[in-house]
């Protein structure tokens, strides 16, 4: 029933692999994997709107950045624990998502894209100008606090411990997002993408439903933002600017919004290729832009959609061969 072909076995294998990964790769590469995981959450939260909901947003960085600032300020000023800080970052993202959502989910298509962009810019300008709180363009630096579990103190400054922390948050977040697609609310999101009017005429309050989805997307974007800021031990306006908003759009689109794990593929591929290519190909961004345009033109469902259609054709061919 679900379009992606992942099975439980495959998921268990991937998680096991992630658990032993620190034994297999260097610390530098491990940091890269942490980045991939954080952006995977961000891209998946975006895909609740884009792929599953059929809404093109140019303002998802607002929730990512708002979550990041909230996490950093709470940890620095109130000395809350890291898990609580990230959780509250998520709630801040949800709060902002709900507040903006009241207005944006009334709109569709280009108007929706423009209003999300306007809100993103408003939040960005606020972060830039409200120096006393946000530090303006200089941002806020802080120290990732250690984690206290019972009587144990876990040093999160050590890459290995931090990696496992991010892994737990990521598996939990992605698990939630995946589970959501299998529930009535997740299916309703698809219904509204396919035909919002029809959904209304069979008794769904599509406005409230869209608002709920938008709020949840804000929550997970906030979680990703809180994680990203904790990772870099720093937050600045680049967490919330238009480039961040279009980055997540590019990741999601290139990976493919039509399958659940497409955005994860996009987030990982862009992070990895960016790291590999940027060292010897100065203008890597041109390749990324070119890839994006090629996919828009010839594979509107991104890399995962391309893979699926090739595989389908392959299967059909195989079936044809065995028949003859």
């Amino acid at each position: 029933m679900h379009r992606s072909r992942f099975t439980w076995l495959q998921i268990v294998v991937v998680i096991l692999l992630l658990l032993v990964l620190p034994k297999l790769i260097s610390e530098y590469r491990l940091n890269l994997v942490i980045t991939m995981m954080i952006y995977s959450i961000f891209a998946l939260s975006y895909n609740m709107l884009f792929g599953q909901g059929g809404l093109l947003s140019f303002g998802h960085a607002a929730y990512f950045g708002f979550g990041a600032y909230t996490t950093v300020i709470l940890i620095k000023q109130l000395e809350v624990s890291l898990p609580l800080g990230i959780m509250l970052g998520g709630l801040a993202g949800a709060f902002l998502g709900c507040a903006f959502g009241v207005f944006v989910v009334r709109l569709r298509g280009v108007a929706f894209a423009l209003l999300t962009l306007a809100f993103n810019q408003l939040i960005y300008v606020t972060a830039e100008k409200w120096r006393s709180v946000t530090g303006g363009e200089d941002g806020i630096a802080f120290m990732r606090p250690n984690l206290f579990l019972g009587g144990w103190e876990i040093d999160l400054w050590a890459t290995l411990n931090w990696y496992y922390f991010v892994l737990i948050v990521t598996v939990f977040s992605i698990g939630c997002l995946w589970y959501l697609t299998l529930t009535p609310l997740g299916r309703l999101n698809l219904c509204m993408r396919e035909n919002e009017e029809r959904a209304r005429f069979i008794g769904y309050n599509t406005y409230a439903s869209r608002l709920l989805i938008y709020t949840l997307a804000g929550f997970f974007a906030g979680i990703a933002g809180g994680l990203a800021a904790s990772f870099q031990e720093f937050v600045t306006t680049t967490f919330i600017n238009l480039d961040k908003a279009t980055d997540v759009l590019m990741m999601t689109f290139i990976g493919g919004g039509g399958t659940f794990f497409g955005p994860v593929i996009g987030a990982c591929a862009l992070t990895l290729i960016n790291d590999l290519l940027s060292s010897w190909l100065e203008r890597w961004a041109i390749v990324q832009g070119g890839l994006f345009i090629l996919l828009v033109l010839y594979a509107p469902n991104g890399l995962s959609g391309l893979y699926m259609s090739i595989r389908e054709r392959w299967d059909a061919q195989k079936r044809g061969n065995t028949r003859s």
Binding site: Y179, L182, P184, R187, C191, E194, F201, I202, G203
Partner: protein, 253 residues
């Protein structure tokens, strides 16, 4: 007049678009279990009338009562939850989802399972069973895993009606269910409508007179946004004004 047996009651309804009156002084009622057909020439305001009842438009003047409660001014989803479900003249389904999911989305709504995330849909056996039942009823059970958008036209029309039925309404409203169908397909779909709407109130817009006379026990003729005549099929068939306005002089039906 006994108003309690009236399911739908409309009195003096008006609707204008930028000063053009599409519906004027329209009054009509539907009783429990009644099968009521709306006929009338193109542009008479039949679909606008449907849109007013189901909340797509709000009336300029006049009120609509359903089970004694005022529904005009309500949003479409509230009206649907009151027990009115409609189909559309232009096929209005969820094309990128499976036939099964098209129907199931309506079953969820009927059962009030809209925002739940306590359970995965695949484990909700009662919902899935009800969905299969509806699919059998509309004859699409063998195609339930296909994408709705890939079905042929006749099957899409059947699905359209299936979605409408699946919310288990007290009153079913069908807007030209046989539009664009071959004679054979029409016969099949009419039999299906007849089978599935037994005992329920039915309001149907239809051009095919054969269909109208085989299904309806009351017929209303709408012309220039108002009810020209209303009554049992025999009366309408013999009504002189109706003949003139709609059926045409010397019509043989």
């Amino acid at each position: 007049m006994n108003t309690t047996s009236k399911l739908l009651d409309i009195h003096g309804l008006y609707k204008d678009f930028r000063g053009v009156e599409v519906i004027k002084d329209l009054s009509l009622s539907v009783c429990q279990g009644e099968r009521h057909a709306i006929i009338g020439p193109n542009g008479a305001g039949k679909t606008t009338f449907f849109n007013l009842i189901t909340g797509r438009y709000t009336p300029s003047k006049g009120d609509i009562y359903f089970e004694g409660r005022k529904i005009s001014g309500m949003t479409p989803h509230r009206i649907n939850r009151m027990g009115i479900s409609r189909s559309f003249q232009i096929t209005n389904i969820f094309p990128g989802m499976t036939v099964f999911e098209n129907i199931r989305s309506a079953i969820f709504s009927k059962k009030g399972i809209r925002w739940s995330f306590r359970q995965r849909v695949s484990t909700m056996n009662d919902v899935n069973q009800e969905t299969e039942d509806i699919l059998k009823l509309i004859g699409l059970d063998s195609q339930h895993h296909l994408l709705a958008g890939s079905l042929d036209y006749g099957a899409q029309r059947a699905l359209e009606i299936g979605i409408t039925l699946a919310t288990d309404p007290k009153m079913i409203m069908l807007d030209e269910p046989t539009a664009g169908m071959s004679i054979e397909e029409t016969r099949e779909i009419v039999a299906m409508i007849d089978r599935t709407t037994q005992g329920k109130a039915l309001l149907i817009i239809e051009h095919d007179m054969e269909v109208v006379f085989s299904l309806a026990d009351t017929i209303s003729v709408i012309h220039y946004g108002t009810v020209l005549a209303s009554g049992p099929p025999e009366d309408i068939r013999n009504d002189a004004t109706v003949k003139e306005a709609y059926l045409g002089e010397g019509s043989t039906c």
